[in-house]
């Protein structure tokens, strides 16, 4: 269930966009969500407490590395930006095996209950499953429900974005080509659930392999930002026409990304 951080403030998410990362290959969706939350300095507005997510606690992942305070983070939290009418879920722990459909059911009902305008699913796909034509060129793809596709067709095909829809795979059931997202976590089934429930949804993904996936996350976040206009990296004039504001010069990497490969090797090994 969703538990607001501050029960006194009644919150309405009507008309907001919900960004959900899928636990996918390289954890790219979750890393991209981290970048968005960190760079936009988003505030946590609530928690998701569900028996389908394994437990996890830690110290503040977005704090300064030298900070010596304790701001607890749990397995699945919700961040919001009133300015951008945006809510981002960040999931830090894997699903319990067999419980993913239970979570999907809860999530789709939560989306409808809160009247979110659209759902953006961040995901990734196994690079070794690419078709020949996908081996070269941009590694970013999207797939969206027909209503979002119609609404955004011009933007997606525009020179600035040049987004490529994910190529379908012909299968025995569907010779035309159906959605094939190996390694994408719940992205495919969540997208299909949304299509059935008439929730406007879009899956954005990159092809990648497991490893240091920070750059894949940057690619995903960068493309999403081009479409949704969330962070402006270029300096620009303020409303008065004189003051220059520079919201961010680059993506702000959270301190939780440190030590990707663990503790440094103990040099006493080599004595």
């Amino acid at each position: 269930m969703y538990i607001p951080a501050d029960k006194k403030k009644s919150k309405s998410f009507e008309g907001y966009t919900l960004i959900v990362p899928a636990v996918s290959v390289g954890n790219v969706g979750q890393l991209a969500a981290d970048l968005l939350i960190s760079t936009m300095w988003l505030e946590r507005c609530g928690f998701i407490y569900h028996d389908s997510i394994l437990p996890l606690v830690g110290n503040d992942p977005y704090a300064h590395p030298e900070a010596d305070v304790c701001k607890l983070v749990t397995a699945c939290e919700v961040y919001e930006s009133k300015l951008h009418q945006l809510v981002i879920i960040q999931q830090r722990a894997p699903f319990v095996k067999g419980k993913m459909s239970s979570f999907r059911r809860w999530l789709t009902s939560w989306v409808k209950e809160n009247k979110f305008e659209k759902l953006v699913i961040l995901s990734s796909m196994h690079a070794h499953e690419r078709l020949d034509i996908q081996l070269q060129g941009p590694q970013f793809r999207y797939i969206s429900t027909p209503d979002l596709e119609a609404e955004n067709k011009e933007r997606f095909t525009h020179d600035v974005l040049k987004w490529i829809p994910l190529e379908g795979r012909p299968s025995l059931e569907d010779p035309e080509g159906s959605l094939y997202l190996p390694g994408g976590g719940i992205a495919k089934s969540l997208f299909e659930d949304c299509s059935k429930e008439n929730i406007p949804a879009i899956v954005v993904l990159v092809f990648c392999a497991e490893g240091d996936n920070a750059q894949d996350a940057v690619k995903l976040a960068y493309n999403l930002n081009l479409w949704m206009d969330l962070i402006d990296f270029k300096p620009k004039y303020d409303l008065d026409g004189k003051t220059i504001i520079k919201p961010a010069s680059t993506w702000r990497v959270p301190s939780s990304w440190r030590l990707l490969f663990g503790t440094a090797v103990d040099q006493t090994l080599f004595h």
Binding site: D51, P55, G58, C70, K99, M100, H126, H128
Partner: protein, 273 residues
């Protein structure tokens, strides 16, 4: 994926494919069962919300944490009022009779002269998948609104990531995390990013955090596979932590008890004796 030596290995990925729902954990909600002694159940029936009023709660998870609480907290003036069982059916009978520190049990103790102080010593290896059910069942019987919670756990230094090499950290060492409602300062440094705690201790702390309870988690990082004296000693200063200091009495035989516990664990681990 082909390796450098030419062998083909399966690709390991944390991404779980959708069709994984076929394998599922057996009876998530019913595998862990809480059973209370008759007197405790009767007490719960008498209260407005059918819960025991608790002002001080200690959850000890694992042999090191339970060894500590058995030596310094529950050794005197405590009675068993309940237990958690794994894999038991509703009508199975159990006498709460297994009392050795190394037995796989999970008993809930209450202080005889301070009835709102409870200690849960969990020596079971509760899998993270069952942690949600464990905490929900336990918390559905306890009213902790005004209370203090402390959680003791232990894990290996191999799980700990830092700039400093592990040998320089002088294991075993203690780290802490606290909920926002807890306004004091824990008796150990905060667990630094990117380290996290998982499993039952994490589930309990999450529950406390979400429900705005005062709670602290103390996690001992040890490099010893089996319980040893040094690990138990690392917990020792925590007898002054809130609320443990209000729930315990002096144990003059503490060193002997600790030695007995370590010996019991060592019996299973030595190859050559």
């Amino acid at each position: 994926m082909a390796t450098f030596f030419g062998e083909i290995l399966p690709v390991i990925s944390r991404a779980v494919d959708d069709d994984d729902d076929d394998e599922s954990f057996e009876n998530l909600e019913t595998y862990v069962k809480i059973k209370w002694k008759k007197e405790a159940q009767e007490e719960m029936e008498l209260t407005k919300d059918k819960k025991l009023q608790v002002n001080a709660f200690v959850l000890a998870v694992g042999p090191a944490a339970t060894g500590f609480t058995q030596t310094y907290v529950t050794h005197k003036n405590y009675e068993i009022i309940g237990a958690m069982f794994c894999g038991m059916k509703e009508d199975d009978v159990n006498t709460f009779g297994q009392m050795s520190p190394t037995d796989k049990t999970c008993y809930i103790y209450r202080k005889c002269d301070y009835p709102s102080a409870l200690v849960c010593e969990c020596n079971y290896d509760i899998r993270p998948e069952y942690a949600h059910s464990f905490v929900n069942q336990l918390m559905s019987c306890l009213n902790l609104c005004e209370g203090h919670v402390v959680i003791f756990g232990s894990t290996f230094t191999s799980e700990y990531k830092s700039d400093v090499p592990t040998s320089d950290m002088n294991p075993p060492f203690m780290r802490a995390l606290k909920t926002a409602s807890f306004l004091g300062t824990p008796m150990a440094p905060y667990l630094e990013q990117p380290n996290v705690a998982t499993g039952l201790p994490a589930q309990m702390l999450t529950y406390c955090h979400i429900h705005k309870l005062n709670a602290v988690l103390y996690m001992c990082y040890t490099d010893s596979i089996h319980l040893d004296f040094a690990t138990l000693k690392t917990f020792q200063p925590l007898i002054e932590s809130t609320p443990v200091k209000y729930m315990r009495e002096e144990n003059k035989k503490a060193s002997e008890t600790l030695k007995k516990i370590v010996d019991l664990h060592t019996k299973h681990s030595t190859l050559y004796m």
